[in-house]
């Protein structure tokens, strides 16, 4: 999201100056006044400048895509970010190109890092929590399917045996996928326990 905080003698002046710096037109932006400012004596002395914030009007998905693309470009990777879907609080992006191995990283570490950074930036830009999902070469969707299979099988065991089961320690993102996958599952509920790297998901029979 292009945005700028800028001061000027008047709101109009600050706005005009800011738009020029951003290279945007008035209809492309939202304007918020931070301080009104005060006119000085004879309009010259002792006045206070006003300050405004100018923010580009953009959807969360378009903003996320732009940020990811900027990062990929700066990494000198031959890859293009695309929007897959956009919902109220989540955005899904896909990366296509040549350097997918690098973008995925060891055990998906690079994808997770990119995802966290882009999510944080977007959530800040829009002042609410927005989850950004980034996939490359189907890595994440394959991984997600494998997790769901594992979860469903474990849930079946728990439901039939009545004995709760702990899954291996996983990242918050992976645990979230399983919580969601088993939300509708009959006969079981899920929760997490443990700290940091050791935090794991427990599937337990519903009473």
């Amino acid at each position: 999201m292009k945005k700028i905080k800028i001061k000027g003698k008047s709101v109009e002046e600050a706005k005009g100056h800011g738009l020029k710096i951003l290279g945007l037109k008035e209809e492309d932006v939202d304007l918020a006044i931070i301080t009104e400012g005060k006119p000085g004596v004879l309009g010259m002395f002792g006045g206070e400048e006003c300050e405004v914030e100018i923010r580009q009007k953009i959807s969360a998905a378009a903003d996320a895509k732009e940020i990811l693309q900027e990062i990929l470009n700066r990494l000198a990777l031959v890859a293009v970010a695309e929007i897959v879907s956009e919902e109220e609080n989540s955005v899904a992006l896909d990366v296509k190109g040549e350097d997918l191995g690098k973008i995925i990283g060891k055990d998906g570490a690079m994808l997770s890092s990119l995802q966290l950074i882009v999510s944080s930036i977007i959530s800040r830009d829009f002042s609410r929590k927005i989850y950004v999902n980034i996939d490359a070469g189907g890595y994440r969707s394959n991984h997600e399917q494998a997790l769901c299979r594992l979860a469903k099988e474990a849930a079946k065991d728990v439901a039939s045996s009545g004995i709760e089961k702990a899954l291996p320690p996983m990242s918050a993102a992976d645990r979230r996928i399983i919580h969601m996958a088993l939300k509708e599952e009959e006969g079981v509920t899920t929760y997490s326990e443990g700290e940091r790297e050791g935090r794991r998901l427990i599937i337990t029979p519903k009473k």
Partner: protein
């Protein structure tokens, strides 16, 4: 590399005009120092250092081509 880190950090903080990024190139290791306003330290470090570590992972990927180790350090800018 510096450009990449600067772009990410600027987008994360509330006071993008108060950040500075310096890069010191050694023979085998490259040290990147990121300074941000004290109130923005939480934004670049994150819960349990998660954001700082994500930035390090991305920096490592950028440094990979030159086969150099990359150290990214975060600190609060002293009030001027």
């Amino acid at each position: 590399m510096k450009d990449l880190i600067e772009f990410i950090v600027k987008a994360l903080v509330e006071n993008p005009d108060k950040i500075s990024v310096t890069e010191t190139q050694g023979e085998t290791v490259s040290i990147i120092e990121v300074r941000v306003a004290e109130t923005d330290m939480g934004k670049v470090i994150g819960k349990e250092g998660k954001i700082a570590n994500a930035i390090r992972t991305i920096a490592k990927a950028a440094g990979g081509k030159e086969q150099k180790r990359v150290n990214v350090e975060f600190m609060a800018k002293e009030a001027v």
